[in-house]
Amino acid sequence: MPKLRINDREIEVPEGTSVLDAIFHAGYDVPYFCSERHLSPIGACRMCLVKVGAPRKGKDGDWIRDEAGNPQIFWFPKLMAACTTRATEGMVVDTLADEVRKAQAGMVEFHLENHPLDCPTCDKGGACELQDRSYEYGLFEKYYTQTQNGLKTVLYSRFEFTKRHADKHHKLSEFVVLDRERCIHCKRCVRYFEEIPGEEVLDFIERGNHTFIGSEEIPLPAGFSGNITDICPVGALLDLTARFRARNWEFEKTPTVDMNDAFGAAIWVDSRSGRIERIRAREHPETNQIWISDAARFGHGWASRDRLTEPLLRKDGELVPVSLAEAEAFLAERLSGAKGEEVGLLLAADATLEEGYAFAEAARALKTPHFGFENATRYPVANLPAARYEELLEAEFALVIGDPAEEMPNLYLRLQEFLKGVTPAPRYYHGTPIADLRLEEHMPRRRERLAVFAPYPTRLHRFAGVAGVYPPGSVGALVGALFAILNGKRPEPVPGVPEAELRRVAERFLAAKTRAVVVGAEVLEAPAAAQAVADLARAKGALVFAMPPAAGARGLEAVGLWNPKGRGWEEPGAGLLLAFGATPPERVLAAARLRVLALSHLDPRARAQADLVLPAKTFYEKRGYTVNAEGRVLELRPAPTAPLGAMDGIEALAFWLRGMGRKPPAGHYREARERLHERHKLPLDLPEEVAFWRPKLRLAARPGEDKGELFLAPTMWRARMLADPRVRAALGPPRLRAHPETARRLGLDPGATVEVETGYGRWEARVELDPALAEGALVLPAWGRGAGRRVAYRLRVPAGGEA
């Protein structure tokens, strides 16, 4: 641990710390543009130049000393870039010297030279690193003043020529726009793509003063592209969903959690005048770091359009707006004398713990078998042990069965980190290191540490030492065979995956000191396979990362919403139905006598079948807690965008129960939270770094097996996001992927548009042939419903189309 002096302060920092981090750790500031947390330091912007000296050792191995006997400080002949200089024992750093200030002012001047300074029309204005740094470090009166007409004015730049002109509206995708004039060439975006998701899509083109950012891949691949809009220090890369929606200081900024998947990524919801305008990643060093997926970032458009603002009641076959009192009267009438076991209580996948608790308690009190949550899997994810995401970095080998990039995109980024062999960074007083010298550009990926299997080639496949594609439905066979080999038995053959490959995986698995197993929805839908993973983890010792398709799954199961008898959400049976947050499948609605749905948006199924619709909050607007895939308790805070009268699940349930003449388990959020805490002793008041809730559960799995032939592939995008035309345009029509042989057998032509209908909905899909799939495989994106399942389907050629 080297000790060094920053200006007047002595500090001690971990070995390998950059001078830049040492400066911040000591409580001093230094400007920087090219360095960014989690990216490799490159020393390009030259903003962080400081004066550095160090003692030297003489021939005798001892420090060379001055007259006073102290180690003599030898100053480096030039100013050093703090981001790329390693802090060493006895170093002395001066960030306040005149020559440092002059260099900083000079560098600001160079940065502003060709910058258009169109701050008044720039979405980054007010939150721009260039603005901030120019004000702090650019003005240096001593150097940049001019006297005109007897008046002394201060200059930012003495550049008097025409500025460089370049493309100002270069659309990189439906979501990201590039302004090449504003770019200050920090290279953060270029490094981000190569280093974080591992896709080299952006680079500098041309050189010298003509250097600009460009890509061969327009549009940028959707998935992880949005993070560049967060890290671009200026307004060169901007979020198109928020273009010109507000100045940065006008946004209401709400720190909450993304509930589109079970990862629990921290986000900022930026809203204004009751609309969500923008989602940004919020730093959480132990979970999502500073990254989120494109779906989490750009998929918010649905939440602010066409909101339900008042109750709708079906009168003469039409849903018409009514007062809450009328809705209440209607419920009281229809629910009088209702039997508890007839009632069905269904909750959406993104519900909070408190909502889950209220629903579970109510179901218990009513003694009804009809309850559950959307996207519950056959095997309860709560039965599997949970590991912290950071623990993945300590593993030596990871076996992935599933598609992390789509199922839990942030876990995919963690896997990329794991492939680079990076361990968690030290924490400084200022937090995450800004210039982590352990990171480099183009770090080799350790492919031999990773094995991936899925029913189709995933993004992760090309990074894996062993990568396999098996036919949908064979996941049980795959896990079984691996299990057999690990236990020294003869494996049954797995279609599509040679035994030698499995043996290689087993060999590496056993050779690794710490191993991780990552499993997705498909495994959770195959109870035997999931159980085998649980047993494996116990017997051989492995970190398990399970990716349930329902964001709140772990918590909802643990608070009592696990229904071992039926699927609740998907199985018809209840006569009197309350569903909160999403619309259950058609057949469930059809089987009920009374259908009350609490929704934020009216969808076609609700329009056709609901008797009463109550306005509901989206997850962005709820207060509450959730338990993520690692068992961490995270807090949701409400963005001020819910329409007046929109209910959360607790209120909707209370409304319903009052109609039945029963006392609700909780009348409102606060009560639900207290009860939940009393009952489960949740660590709700602890900071998120330490608040874990991992009750040891042995819930009974639901028996059964999928019989259908169409595989629903997990997607980070959710069906509701498609309400936004921008998202639709970016994603294009869903792709029905088929092995060429299968397509031929089914009479599907590549490129043809067909209508596919499953129990989850109807899509117009485009046929795509994929020889990497197993023969017989048909794959359709799930878009949040039934991911990882094999379902029955009907194919039709739409009128006017051709197959």
């Binding site: 330091p41 490159i42 020393g43 390009a44 912007c45 030259r46 903003m47 130049l49 002949p77 030039k78 100013l79 870039a81 790329t84 002059k102 260099a103 000079g106 560098m107 001047e109 160079f110 940065h111 030279e113 060709n114 150097y143 003495r158 550049f159 020529f161 460089r164 200050i184 060439h185 290279k187 680079d203 500098f204 041309e206 050189r207 010298g208 003063n209 003509h210 250097t211 480099e440 550009e441 183009h442 080799p444």
Partner: protein, 440 residues
């Protein structure tokens, strides 16, 4: 003249080696090379010297890098790890793109086997079994000759497995640059070789720790590596008799501009400008006002007796506030406008800036070019020179790689010795020199 250091081409003890065969018919063929003692140094070293002994010999000779920076070659080689089990690489930097430098070219064109033999020796010394020659893309003939020579060498066992029965394997590859000066910077060159954009890389890690493809690598200039052949063949003492204290050996000096016989001259280190220009290059064709001593990045010196009597080596030129660089002497005639010359040079560096770091991309490639152009076109304003000097302060020593410095130094040299020309441009509002021909 036959005692002490050899510091003149007239010294009877001096004998040409590097360029001894340049210009001779068929000098590029293996038969010619073998007929003139070719591959004997390699045979000797591989048979009777350990790699460390080769490094020691080079260290003792005092050879310093001829690529411009003058780093001691033996010392550089000794930084390479030993017995680390990794693949090592040796790279020959033949990107020669500095204006005024054209010495490497003729070694490759007319004596490619000399370069190959040097690579074998260097590879052996640093325990690299693979070598790359990164050659300037425009050097088409040199490339063709080199490729043909390598093929010949492979065919006759001078490259490949088990050279001279010593058990040492050596493979050599040639890679053509695509026309960027920055590719001559050693780490940018490695990026380029790896198929990446030629931006300089961070140091540390230095190439000897983590170079090409992340493996220990040494990179040297063509002339440096060719010199090693003769050091091994004739001994370090022979080499060290040439030149003054810290600048040893023979050097390829180049003369361009209005000399009677511009060209490359192999002379002992420490030869004076006067000898080079008047005795070897045949004098000047017209009045000269300044000379650039070592390639375009070195500050110019006024063309006077003091300069002419300066020995051309690292130390003496540093004393004069300039540098030996690549030894490429450029003569600037009286009728040329210094402002124009400097604007031209800075434009070159601006054009070649890789764009990675701010002071070079914005300072050199943008602002400095514009300011100098403004002065040359007669639109300079009072205060422009002070502004230029302040910008030079903000650029020099603050960029990521030395390219920006290379643009600063000539401007500094010109302002030091020819400030009056700049001032006249600003005062008169025009370029005072009548323009004609290439120089004007």
């Amino acid at each position: 003249m036959s005692e002490g250091f050899i510091v003149s081409g007239h010294d009877p003890r001096f004998e040409r080696t590097l360029y001894a065969h340049v210009g001779r018919p068929d000098a590029h063929t293996l038969d010619y090379y073998l007929g003139h003692g070719g591959y004997e140094a390699a045979r000797k070293a591989l048979a009777s010297m350990t790699p460390d002994e080769v490094i020691e010999e080079v260290k003792r000779s005092g050879l310093r890098g001829r690529g411009g920076a003058g780093f001691p070659t033996g010392l550089k080689w000794s930084f390479m790890p030993k017995d680390d089990g990794q693949q090592h690489y040796i790279i020959m930097n033949a990107d020669e793109s500095e204006p005024g430098s054209f010495k490497d070219r003729y070694i490759l064109e007319d004596d490619p086997h000399q370069a190959i033999e040097g690579m074998i020796l260097a590879g052996y010394a640093i325990r690299a079994t693979k070598g790359y020659i990164y050659i300037r893309g425009e050097y088409r003939r040199a490339y063709d000759r080199l490729v043909a020579a390598i093929e010949e060498a492979y065919a006759r066992g001078y490259l490949g497995k088990n050279l001279f029965g010593s058990g040492f394997d050596f493979d050599l590859y040639v890679h053509r640059g695509a026309g960027a000066y920055i590719c001559g910077e050693e780490t940018a060159l490695m990026n380029s070789l790896e198929g990446l954009r030629a931006n300089p890389r961070l140091k540390p890690p230095f190439p000897a720790q983590k170079g090409l493809f992340g493996k220990p690598t040494t990179i040297n200039n063509v002339e440096t590596i060719a010199s090693v052949v003769h050091i091994v063949a004739r001994g370090s003492d022979w080499f060290a008799q040439m030149g003054y204290d810290k600048s040893k050996g023979m050097k390829l000096y180049q003369v361009s501009g209005p000399a009677v016989r511009p060209g490359v001259y192999e002379l002992p280190m420490g030869t004076t400008f006067r000898e080079l220009i008047y005795d070897w290059a045949g004098g000047v064709r017209e009045p000269i006002k300044a000379l650039i001593p070592g390639g375009s990045s070195t500050p110019m010196l006024p063309f006077n007796d003091d300069t002419l009597d300066t020995p051309m080596d690292y130390e003496h030129l540093a004393e004069k506030g300039s540098m030996l660089g690549t030894g490429g002497v450029i003569l600037i005639p009286e009728r040329a406008c210094v402002v124009d010359v400097i604007w031209n040079l800075v434009r070159f560096y601006g054009h070649e800036s890789c764009g990675k770091c701010t002071p070079c991309r914005e300072g050199v490639a943008g602002w400095l070019v514009k300011l100098l152009g403004q002065i040359e076109r007669g639109r300079g304003k009072p205060g422009d020179l002070e502004l230029i000097e302040d910008l030079l302060d903000n650029i020099e020593g603050k960029s990521f790689c030395p390219l920006a410095d290379a643009a600063v130094w000539p401007v500094r040299g010109a302002l030091r010795h020819f400030r009056h020309e700049f001032e006249r441009h600003i005062e008169e509002g025009r370029c005072p020199l009548e323009k004609k021909g290439f120089w004007g």
